[in-house]
Symmetry: C2
Subunit: 279 residues, 2 copies
Amino acid sequence: MTREELILQIKHKASFLCIGLDTDLQKIPKHLLEFEDPVFEFNKRIIEATLPFTVAYKPNLAFYESMGLKGLMSLKKTMELIPNSVFTIADAKRGDIGNTAAMYADAFLGGENSDFNFDSITVAPYMGEDSIKPFLHNKKKWAIILGLTSNPGSGDFQQLQMVNHQKLFEVVLSKSASWGTPNDMMFVIGATRGEDIGVCRKILPDHFFLVPGVGAQGGSLTDVCSFGFNPDVGVLVNSSRGIIYASQGLDFAEAARSAAQKLQMEMKQQLAKAGLLNE
Amino acid sequence: MTREELILQIKHKASFLCIGLDTDLQKIPKHLLEFEDPVFEFNKRIIEATLPFTVAYKPNLAFYESMGLKGLMSLKKTMELIPNSVFTIADAKRGDIGNTAAMYADAFLGGENSDFNFDSITVAPYMGEDSIKPFLHNKKKWAIILGLTSNPGSGDFQQLQMVNHQKLFEVVLSKSASWGTPNDMMFVIGATRGEDIGVCRKILPDHFFLVPGVGAQGGSLTDVCSFGFNPDVGVLVNSSRGIIYASQGLDFAEAARSAAQKLQMEMKQQLAKAGLLNE
């Protein structure tokens, strides 16, 4: 999906919601365990229920890999359900030397022998330029680079101060951005502190940010919007648990739908307030 | 495998060789393509030919993931061939927040629903402590953390100078090491410059280093040993292409055997010179 197509979808649905399909056999409603592929059944109903309110789905690969090849088969079937008009993110956080990174790009972005054809993949920056560039060769595909994450460990290295008094994550943002364009690169920017999003927006005025940490992890949607919006909206806000596990009973899909719709309505208000809806 | 068991194997085989099973359909001998599972056939013959000379095998997950679920099935069958006396490394370079990292640990280190039971997994440090700790819960399993890599991009962030005048990779080594012990944690330390291995050895006298970059990438075995050895040997040296693609003809397995044996004999000399063989 191109940047223009993504922006169109955001305006069409009045939503910049990304739903994290972090499906865990321990947490899905018990009655689904009777199906041959409970993970796929769960994902299918979540997608059907939430599709009108979301512009992106983001399965985290760890959840599927932990279930072995069977889990990856459930993911493959899940991804085949999602229409092309929805942006898809392989939250895989891969990162390896050039020729190996090219194989990860094949694996997730629709290589010849691959089972997956995501629009984008999350990528770790520690190994530098040759570990990122192979994800940027296709005009409709994206690398989403870890910039500033929202977990406790983000302070250990990302916030370290460099000799030039920038923090490591600031250097990661500006240097990585020079390897691609705002049309093939986004950044993961955690929402636990709104001011941090503002710092990142100052460094990268044009890029889309994928923002986790709203809701369960404590970030505020209002802060994300006031610090993160740019003239093309420029943010995708992820919610996983708050939507997909809104209920663990028979009504789980309906509850997920309501939770997604509630967030989408808040997003619509924010978009309207910022003058970012065309109507 | 425990540290003691690994050291015993190294002394028993007079080898600290790790063979990278980076199997690429484009590079394996053409006659293998007639088999139902060419990747598995190739790996099987490489393992049979090289087993006497190596203490570890390290498949890079990207190579298998790029072939889809079929590739991962080939890897599963491959790993089942490797005896318990050989150390196994999932070169997966994973890194994610705490609860997700725990799922990657399940996926590769023998979780209940997993198809893989490696001794160790390579891990990226950018997300900090909670992304590393879940790999350290089992006394026979290891996290192998990216410290200083040998690719061109390693200069982009790893070599950046911090406000305290250490380089980022030095901070990564010392801080990460505080989260585990030399019994459950190793570090990837590239061999392109021997002096760098010396710097890392000074910071971490006791840890094992997994050293790529010898051979094809230009590192010298003598340098690795003189800068990297500790009283428990303390290094595993990886070779991939130089062994598994030593020949692309019908004699590929025999050529791989010769290449592995040649490296092992050089390693035996280095071990003897350093007084690290018990005989």
